[in-house]
Subunit: 664 residues, 2 copies
């Protein structure tokens, strides 16, 4: 990522964008009509909402869990986003109901937490490293801000401001204040949202305090652990003494490697970026860039998934990206989209948009089924159902209806409900188009509202037509992203060819625009056979298929069992074909591979001393984001064996010849 | 495995065999001079021997652990075997010292267990499923029997007979007896040894009882768990309610799949085979054959390692043989050698000898370093040092000096000390030669002692010369094993060619033999590129190198980092070369492979859209059994990527042509 002075990009609200495409629009409809009601019912059924009644007593069922409040907060946020584009009295009434419970649950001093009010009141703020109080507060704040923006109703916002005021009072460097911060980051970015919604600078300062204090010596979590031990209060042991698990091993400005729990890391980096943006604090940027480069050059799955092991639900070591045991939590990819979105405004760098797109269209979206009713917690890149047990029990071969730890379902819901915001940015002199989809946008550029109508079948093909409309002709720049996956792009303005000059991932058209102007962009979309770095040991000798922004996988339902035994020939070619009737309409990739003849393995032998004859078989690959929607609980594979290109063979012949010469 | 009436083979004692070869003789010397003294010192240092003084009290260090006695028992057994071939007063005195401690530690009723006498006396026999009392008893019995055979001294044997008598009294189906058996099998085979040494039939009957009772309904472990709960005594949770973990899920005669903890399984099957042999009970044989076939056709690593996960230290599901996370405990391969040895006497089947050889020369032997000072607990087939942590912490990238659970070091020591017994069998009318090595054997055949002198460089080449000597000429059969790895064998008797007719893995020469007769056997030893069944998903597209009985691996010290990125060409050939100066003198395999050009991965990119140029590099493979003896803590790999044979490519061209025809 370049280090030059960042562009002054501004994020847009998803309310400025409406998608009418065949890829996102159906997802948003299902999210609104199916997923949100289901998640509400789950929150009710499991007691997450009633927990705010504070009626739980020892012996009763549904003891409020320390992170339940966060699930409700995320659901409220997702529901509020849906209300902004699709008003719904019934849904609004539901949220008002929860708001009322929250108001009643709030303590006189402003404290609001179902678990620590009724289950362990004596332990309030006692174990910040593990007990998620500020994390829960953050998600409730995000929900309250979203609901306020959706409806103008202040009730929930006021409740959360009172709680935030208490947090400002309790935590800080002043006399009598706790010099702590949360083990699970989240409240930092939430306080910035609260500041933006209310204009109250103290919330921004509090967010900055949490960012600045994190990882300072003496380590707060160490002191806290000693205090807990004195009191004889047990720790869960998540953190232990390895503070990198929650990115508190050193001050954030000194951090250069993405470490620990992946979701926590993403939320921290979002908070850092927000504070950098709002305070103009330039000292955070170098760390953000180091962390970004480390993640994207060393620890990112090709799907945009992150987190290589269930052991810490997070990062392990450089290039350690196992496919079958991957964690790749849905929340972590959602969090990466959030962080990338912030980095994109800070840098205007197309490489950042490439990662945002990769993550959004693959590792995040795979977290929810097409019917919106089931969810993945982990999103591995290879699934072998029989292995999804014991040490790999964290990997489910099919999406689940709900989870005891239900962070992912509402997280993917709020992402989909607000996905429009990732497509554009605006600035005084430019309109930025990061992603492409059929639909309309209204961007604030050059002091007026520029309307942009996009016609395209993206992501299924790269033909994009954009029509501009605005009150008055004006001079500004249209910045169009040329994705890294695209080897060849062509452009026309009002049907006159225009040279594509991609700089840092964008080609810019600066001219005097007027209503009716038409821009045609053609992005070639070949089927790419992606290779991973040789140090990614699990992918050596393998390729992943990608076309446009979509990473593909092979499924058992199309290709039979034992997908790992498929090998692509050196000259493998794939034909894209759009199948309207399949998975809501997707482009599949058809080609051929080798497979060993099962006939040669009759008689129960486990090993053979001679090579097995192989047969050529047709194979079909589907987008990773829709895998597991037909015959759940079957095999899936992203990285397929591929034989080396012919060049290698000639190279080895040359090498032999040289050695012969040497002997003569 | 054939089901025909078993041959009446008899095992030989290793005292009938002396190996003077360059492969085993040095291992036995190091085992005697280095390993045994080290293990004694470790047992002292850690308190395992002093534990028998019964002086431990709460608060003191070195609290006797529930399985410590077994480590001492195995060390005594190994040391006794060494005494049989190499008398050593100092060593004998050491063992006498331990014997005296054991005698004093024995309780008036015969009970002998350091832990349950001083740490938890109230819990004697309370948790058979987890607390290893009978397992410890078994290893002490094996040690006592071996020491008695080595020295004729009865002291320790008498102690263990008194303990065995108590066990006979406590466990059984009679009134007032506990109807239990041990969660960790071992005492069954030990009681048979005690019976053979003493002639006391009650020990054989007790072994048979433990075998017969195992897994009967109602399940003893279930009742036991309920009783423990009533008493409020915690279980370790190893077994839980999955009794297949310790092969107690159903009666042994109804078992057909190898399941659960691998070492426990091997010891059980040994006990079953011993009882079948000694009692002539034919009802155990079908189960033994089903279990043998299931193990060798579905759950056996190419090295003879067993146990696919640390989760249960044992078996998972069919064809699940991951390389990097393999458990392959040294004890499990040692146990498999024990079981195969028993099955070989029962069946005379060369397939059994093939597995015995594979396991002995690879997965078992890798458990100890060439200098005899360090040990592997797990023997994975791929090691990537950075990954040996977290979820893979059970895999050590280098051998260790000792373990908290030190079952493996004395187990490999007793195997090496007595390895001669695996080379031959004898019967009234035949001398069986299963394995080949330079050395002398004295076999009881045709009523006299037939001396056999073998000259060979096996396992480094397949030229074998055998010279017979005997008091009187006699007619009998010489059964020579033709290994499954050998594609071509030739034979001569007194320099006259003799047709090789291999039936069930043996070629038999029946004639009138006399002193001075010479047999020349030539076994071709090509470098084999072994393939695993297509369902072994981790090995698809890969081969393992094998020459003779030895499986090979590539090490970082010879081939650089990132071994997983090596790909063998379709026409890969390997040249064997004996290197006297290397690893005590081994035959290495030299060939060529492809590697991706690191140059094409500059600039920190993690993925690229185009194929990487490859370079041909020379590679060197060494025997798996000696890996990690040069630069410990580095990468190692058994299964290497290999490009498909040319046949596959022509097949795919044909397939394309057909489709074109179809379209025309």
């Amino acid at each position: 990522m370049a280090t030059r002075k960042p562009h002054p990009l501004s994020a847009v609200s998803f309310t400025q964008v409406s998608l009418h495409d065949a890829f996102w629009a159906p997802r948003q409809r299902v999210n609104r009509k199916i997923t949100l009601p289901i998640e509400y019912q789950q929150c009710r059924k499991t007691g997450r909402i009633d927990a705010f009644k504070l009626e739980w007593k020892p012996g009763l069922p549904n003891e409020p869990h320390i992170f339940w409040d966060s699930d409700v907060g995320k659901w409220i946020e997702a529901a509020a986003y849906s209300l902004m584009t699709h008003p719904d009295k019934k849904l609004e009434a539901r949220i008002d109901g929860v708001a009322a419970l929250m108001a009643r649950a709030q303590q006189p001093d402003g404290y609001l937490n179902a678990h620590f009010t009724v289950v362990e009141p004596e332990k309030r703020w006692a174990n910040l490293s593990e007990w998620h109080e500020l994390y829960c507060a953050g998600h409730l704040m995000e929900g309250a801000v979203a609901y306020y923006e959706a409806t103008g109703k202040r009730a929930m916002l006021d409740v959360m401001c009172r709680y935030a005021d208490l947090i400002c009072k309790v935590f800080g460097r002043g006399p009598g204040q706790k010099r702590g911060y949360c083990g699970h980051e989240e409240v930092e970015l939430a306080l910035v949202k609260l500041y933006r919604a209310t204009g109250a600078k103290r919330y921004l300062s509090q967010a900055k305090y949490f960012i600045d204090e994190r990882g300072q010596a003496p380590n707060y979590f160490k002191l806290e652990a000693e205090a807990l031990q004195k009191k004889g209060w047990k720790k869960l042991g998540w953190v232990g003494s390895d503070y990198s698990y929650c990115q508190a091993h050193r001050p954030v400005r000194e951090q250069g490697q993405v470490v620990g729990h992946a979701v926590r890391a993403m939320y921290l980096y979002c908070g850092m970026a927000d504070v950098a943006t709002e305070t103009g604090d330039a000292t955070l940027r170098p760390a953000l860039k180091r962390l970004w480069n480390h993640l994207t050059h060393r620890r990112l799955y090709v799907t945009g998934g992150i987190g290589s092991t269930r052991h810490n639900e997070g990062f392990t070591f450089d290039y350690d990206l196992p496919n079958e045991t991957a964690y790749c939590e849905t929340c972590a990819s959602v969090g990466l989209v959030f962080w990338a979105h912030r980095m994109l405004q800070l840098t205007g760098d197309g490489e950042v948009a490439d990662i945002l797109e990769r993550t959004l269209y693959n590792g995040a979206l795979s977290g929810v089924s097409l019917d919106g009713k089931r969810f993945f917690y982990a999103n591995p890149l290879a699934v072998y159902p029989a292995a999804c047990t014991g040490a790999q029990a964290h990997v489910a071969a099919e999406r689940q209806e709900w989870f005891g730890c239900a962070c992912c379902p509402p997280n993917i819901a709020r992402l989909i409900a607000s996905v429009g915001q990732y497509f554009y940015s605006q600035s005084e002199k430019a309109a930025w188009i990061h992603l492409y989809a059929q639909g309309d946008a209204a961007l604030r550029v050059a002091g007026q509202t520029v309307r942009l109508r996009t016609d395209t079948r993206y992501p299924w093909d790269g033909e994009i037509r954009m029509r501009l409309a605005m009150p008055n002709p004006a001079r500004f720049t249209l910045a169009l992203r040329i994705p890294a996956w695209c080897p060849e792009a062509s452009l026309a303005v009002n049907h006159t060819p225009w040279r594509v000059q991609s700089a840092r991932g964008y080609t810019k058209i600066s001219r005097r625009w007027e209503s009716g102007d038409v821009v045609n962009l053609r992005l070639s979309m070949p089927v790419l056979q992606v290779e991973a770095h040789p140090k990614v040991r699990g992918n050596c000798g393998r390729v992943a298929l990608q076309r446009g922004p979509l990473v593909y996988c092979v499924e058992q339902v199309d290709n039979g069992r034992e997908l790992r035994d498929l090998t692509l020939p050196a000259a493998a070619r794939f034909r894209p074909a759009f199948v309207k009737s399949l998975l809501g309409g997707v482009t599949v990739l058809r080609g051929r591979a080798f497979r060993r003849h099962p006939r040669e393995w009759r008689g129960g032998r486990l090993y053979r001393m001679a090579p097995t004859r192989r047969q050529a078989v047709p194979i079909t690959a589907v987008p990773y984001c829709v895998w597991g929607n037909r015959a759940p609980g079957q095999e899936m594979l992203v990285w397929m064996n591929k034989e080396p290109d012919q060049g290698a063979r000639s190279d080895i012949r040359a090498c032999k010849a040289n050695e012969r010469k040497g002997r003569e």
